[in-house]
Symmetry: D2
Subunit: 344 residues, 4 copies
């Protein structure tokens, strides 16, 4: 930790700063410059925070030198983590292909879509039973009934399932039915929910919030990891942008940045990032090319009748085409789509 | 609702579109242009959504003409709403002056800060018992113990209290101890939480999320209103920006925009918007000048020792000065700081 | 300047870093920490840049401790600068009231609008003769003819005039006819143009670019100052935002931030910041409340027939009302609208 | 064009609206709805603008149905354009590989870098002779001397050269020495400069501004096209973002969006988009995967001594590796790196 002192710091203030940081267990190195005086702190940075030091009179700035996400950072685990979801590996060269409709719908439709996406190459099936909808008047999901339909469909087609949880009171129920629990973008900083899923044994798919920095995302992962759940997969799904042509701004470079900072797998979600079926295939391929550990795509066999987010879903045939292209692209990078465990 | 058809729409597609919208109960007016064909829908817009119509083959765009926040919009309640919190009026010319420390701390400190801010002019006392912190290793709040301390302090000084709720499981408890329940920026789209506070009888302080559009904010208010709780006060506290000099980007024009769209009161929070004590006073005054119904400011008598967010708190003496300036400014606009109900 | 070295820096690399910075004339203070090693540089920071130091092998980060805008910074000129435009003072408690149509139009219209705004309180008259338009098919301004009309109108009504320059080749001509030269937001980083206006004797109104940081703005001012022209007035006119209700995002806190960093006057432009006549009055008042040295507002007596940007102009009667409110608000802050020099 | 009328529009206002639009040559279709009345305009949209119509009393909104970039849009030229730069094709399956140092430097260095990048696969050589620098105290480029060095280096190595122009007064000179003229991000809306390069016969590389929408970018291209110069290549180089890990926010989806709207080729610049050498290779590959027509990368053989932007340059060996990966990726998509015309 480096403390930059104010240019007009008095001797009394300086003395006080020194006493404070030494009382926190740090040794100090003082450098008096022509314009500014700086103070290097030698010791365990986790004993304080920049915010705390900033409040000491005479302090102009505090610069930390270690990442605050101690468990998520690469230094804590230099090799890429591999997260296993119902037998499907994610990370370390193994690609997750998560697909399915936005919402869980009636069993026949869920079955038809699952048959199509699994055939195409999907290895994890998705569908929302609890839907976070901007409007209170929109369809809010089928709840427990939806969880059951999703589970049965997954079992029939031999693929693990992932579904979103939106309320701490439902975490146990979701963990009972799902192989992987999703935290949506709007709940990325719902810390009570993060803590709760951190206490389950289920892998977590953590989507980046629309205005979350990469550090925010890794700190939210840290909430889950710090509860003892090591199986976190991150997901880039677009941040807030200013152009009306896409729903969000697909931040592909964030994938490469995360790869340099953390051992956790990270996948991309071009469906939510762009909100446009015509942009999903090229953006999915860009995700693989930049190094993502998988792709999350919404698929529906009749987008016109989807209960939510129909306009951004691919048709099964379009999805099959993307899968084929991803397979070829993955081969170029020495990666493979993880096989699904196969039908029961 | 206006439907713009694709330039190459076929007769068959057009026929299908007409059938679909008529089946939803709309009458239609078709205008065939040189370049594009448009379809005006006459009927009850709440029976469908633009997203649903967009999925019909041949449809290029859908333009709604009524706001989706039916209860929050001005058309539903042309006069400005006045929300009453423990006897303190907010809106309609009555200014809320919410002040207090970021976190609830020990009783003596809470008492000292309350004494100072109430004397200065604060009419609602704040303090967090459940703190949403970016890091799992930061102080997370005193919980129920904090709620009790806050309540007792408020009663002693004759002011209602507001505190944040972050978990659906704590809503009842918070509603028991607090006069007003705060939904923080990170939970603005935690719809389960919005629904739950909508079912209490407590007024709600709803803070705008960092990447929330004004429509998103009003839709979140709509969640609360649609549960039967009409007492919602909005709060502008800065959106995500790109300049490092401030913590967020204080969107003052949003206050004036909301005044044109909704009957709900809206206050400003220059503490979180700027994150810098030196910017709080001018930004608070700007908030009053633009038409806000009150100001939320963090105050601490020893920011250096605050358990959270110390660096962005005003000292009591600085707060007293701002209050005095706000009082004069308010008079110019024919507004007054609502008196606090007085000590028990 | 503080250099943070990479955690795995070798002794050889460290030696090389020390030699490099000493060859640049710096003395060094080395602090070896548990996790990181830091190096404080003592000497004249203007002899190098962080970018240059960052390229030395082994360097992880470089932290400057002096602002790069040496002439614009407060340290260079602790008192607020007062810029005088044709007899009208801006800064130091004197408010500029710049008003007029977006484009210079025919003489009769220019005369009528000038009569109205000067009567209301405007002390500088504006109008664009060279218009930066997004579309090549839009009206591009009257050119030299427009400059002449603007000049004559200003002289008749006894007010100085300001107009935009968009091409280095026109700087001399604009400087001949105008009392103040405007650099528009889209040209804020047109460094050739900044350099050219820096060589004139005319005061410059420098508008902030839509994605310019505050430091970018001050660096662009520095371009003008470094050419010997000290009369720069900054203008906040909104940055790029994500909400569709306003044209831009009015960054009012930037005014207060600039006041802390620089001696240059700064005004606000709520017309371009919001793009909506109904939002201009409250946002103008907010600008004065936050500490701006004046307000720039577009006024047209028939917005419907304006050659450009009609929809965001106030009517003369609306402008008169805003002026009256600003006058009262200014009095509260001990400021006054600078009187215009009076008709010839 | 569709006009949405205000909900409380009077009959007199409606009559006035009808007269105005009919006087502009439009036929009208009126649809009176339950909540709103809309008016469809049938005729040549280029005769008016939404802004003009918005000023008519009673008009609430105006919705255009044709893109305002008439020459740049796909409707004007359904096949992808192929731009030829000194014999090198860009677009239509032909990839541009633009590489070289940020600034033109001394001849020996330029020669060494050119030898390396051309050997690796670059087909256009770049270097700035006129540098737009944020600080007036930074190196501003070698000017005409730099143009000569660049030209000679290109000729020696048999590759065309591209360099930036920043001042209308230098356009002729730059056009004389360069095979392609670059308009930088900061000048994307320097309309005088766009008009001037539109009057040369040189192909133009137009970089997207940091807060430019995709429509803004295409409108700036339209400026050049409307002057008779059809050879415009667009370039995505990152927009303003809020995360500190990258210099800008690489908007890869914009490439796919542009492909759907325009016939113009578009390349990517991961150097400026990310500002970090370690992110350039994965982001370059992502650009090819999403469909870009080429990649612009800064390369320097000694970034530590580069006169500008050294920290974001690749070393020649790193560049060679990226080229090889791009070659393989391109083959997968049926594209090829255009061969350079060969040494004189």
């Amino acid at each position: 930790m480096i403390i930059v002192l104010k240019s007009n710091v008095s001797d009394g203030e300086l003395q006080h700063v020194l006493e404070r940081v030494e009382s926190l267990g740090f040794k100090t190195h003082l450098s008096r410059g022509t314009f500014r005086t700086i103070l290097g702190l030698i010791g365990d940075e986790t004993k304080t925070t920049p915010g705390e030091l900033l409040t000491i009179p005479g302090v102009a700035d505090v610069i930390p030198v270690m990442p605050p996400y101690k468990l998520a950072c690469k230094e804590a685990h230099p090799q890429p983590s591999v997260v296993v979801v119902g037998g499907v590996k994610i990370g370390g060269g193994n690609l997750a292909m998560i697909a399915g409709p936005c919402s869980v719908e009636e069993p026949e439709r869920m079955d038809a879509i699952a048959a199509a996406v699994v055939k195409a190459g999907a290895n994890i099936y998705r569908g929302g039973a609890y839907k976070p909808r901007t409007s209170p008047y929109s369809f809010q999901g089928l709840g427990v009934e939806g969880l059951k339909i999703l589970r049965e469909t997954g079992q029939k087609h031999g693929v693990p399932v992932v579904t979103e949880v939106t309320d701490t009171r439902n975490v146990d129920k979701v963990a009972e039915y799902a192989d992987m629990i999703q935290i949506g973008a709007r709940n990325m900083q719902n810390f009570a929910l993060l803590t709760e899923v951190g206490q389950t044994k289920r892998p977590v798919l953590l989507k980046r919030g629309m205005s979350a920095t990469i550090e925010d995302l890794l700190m939210s992962a840290e909430y889950i990891l710090s509860q003892g759940n090591n199986d976190v997969v991150l997901c880039e799904r677009g941040v807030k942008g200013f152009d009306k042509h896409t729903r969000n701004l697909y931040d592909i470079a964030a994938v490469a940045v995360v790869k340099g900072l953390s051992h956790l797998p990270i996948i991309v979600d071009p469906s939510h990032a762009t909100g446009r079926p015509d942009l999903i295939p090229p953006c999915a391929l860009a995700g693989i090319a930049v190094g993502a550990d998988g792709v999350h795509i919404e698929v529906h066999d009749c987008p016109e009748k989807a209960k939510s987010d129909g306009p951004q879903a691919l048709l099964p045939a379009q999805y099959a085409e993307v899968c084929e292209q991803i397979r070829q692209l993955a081969a170029l990078f020495g990666k493979t789509i993880s096989p699904s465990p196969g039908a029961n």
